[in-house]
């Protein structure tokens, strides 16, 4: 058992394998109090294995996936959720990119790094936590950050959400909220528990009311990052 501080929550993790403890190294904290605790059973680990047949994942890895799902499910009633997206920070503001898998979120983020250099930090490349603090949404790094392992234990206010589509030409436009809603709903985990589901839906609604929403059609040239950055940050570099 160990404790971590993720998204400003103190979480007790009752683990069976070392994998998750190693993964959470940079987030580990000491102290007695915790906001909530998570653990998973051997049955759940086996059920997790059945979800990805043929992958031959280790028990520790499967436990880790399972534990993060439990964490996800504790968040909505605490004003936070996991948003399947890649979130980067530029000049103290966070930008989230979401897309169907295989569209090229990671590729697009690499373009931002190429275009803006060290000003770009990846908060989390795959499953950041987004938490409402009463006035704004904050994007937090977590130890679960996708196959590239892109992420840091940092946080920043989230300014906008950008949905990505591949295209030959680069173009970015504001996305109407109802359309953004359908896309956002595909990227968040819907709890089976009624109260948690209601909290999740209300948080998603608040995100859409609070954040700018964009649709980016892009290729893999640096220009894609340039037009996205200029529109989303509200800054024209030139």
């Amino acid at each position: 058992m160990f404790k971590v501080k993720i998204a400003d929550f103190i979480i007790e993790i009752d683990n069976k394998y070392d994998f998750v403890k190693n993964q959470c190294r940079e987030y580990e904290v000491n102290g007695k109090k915790s906001d909530f605790a998570v653990s998973c059973t051997y049955e759940e680990i086996e059920a997790e294995r059945d979800l990805s047949p043929g992958n031959n994942f280790s028990d520790g890895y499967l436990e880790s996936i399972c534990l993060y799902r439990h964490i996800c499910l504790e968040l909505p009633e605490r004003g936070a959720l996991v948003f399947h997206s890649a979130v980067i920070e530029v000049d103290k503001m966070a930008y989230a990119f979401a897309a169907r898998s295989g569209t090229g979120k990671s590729t697009h983020i690499s373009l931002w790094r190429k275009y803006l250099g060290d000003r770009v930090k990846v908060i989390n490349g795959d499953k950041p936590i987004i938490r409402f603090n009463g006035s704004e949404f904050i994007a937090y790094g977590t130890p679960w950050c996708g196959k590239e392992g892109w992420g840091e234990n940092i946080s920043s206010p989230l300014k906008s959400i950008c949905f990505i589509e591949r295209s030959e030409k680069n173009k970015i436009e504001k996305l109407e909220k109802p359309e953004a809603a359908s896309r956002l709903m595909r990227q968040i985990l819907m709890p089976a528990d009624e109260q948690k589901a209601v909290k999740t839906l209300d948080l998603a609604d608040k995100m859409l009311k609070t954040l700018d929403t964009w649709l980016l059609y892009c290729n893999i040239s640096e220009e894609a990052a340039k037009i996205a950055y200029e529109a989303m940050s509200g800054k024209d570099e030139k």
Partner: protein
């Protein structure tokens, strides 16, 4: 005729969504979106109203709507729900 227990309706970003919760979420994985009329029909069905009452409700909210076409819409919507196994008959 009533909507099965276990569906929740919520507006997100100005769009109306219905998701299945509890036991139902294991078997009903789809997310449903509703337009304005669909939302009224859904809410009426949740309250246990019959088709005639639903038509009256819609006509009271939309001035100038033709009764015949509203009847068609309501029937089509209800038969869609029936196909998807969303109704308790």
């Amino acid at each position: 005729m009533k909507i099965k227990d276990g569906f929740i309706l919520r507006d997100v970003g100005g769009k109306t969504f219905v998701v299945a919760v509890g036991e139902l979420s294991k078997t009903f994985g789809k997310m449903i979106t509703l337009n304005e009329t669909g939302k009224i029909i859904w809410q009426c069905l949740t309250e246990g109203k019959n088709a005639d009452e639903i038509v009256d409700k819609i006509l009271s909210e939309y001035d100038g709507a033709a009764r015949e076409s509203v009847i068609d819409d309501v029937e089509a919507f209800i038969s869609k729900l029936r196909q998807e196994g969303i109704l308790d008959e």
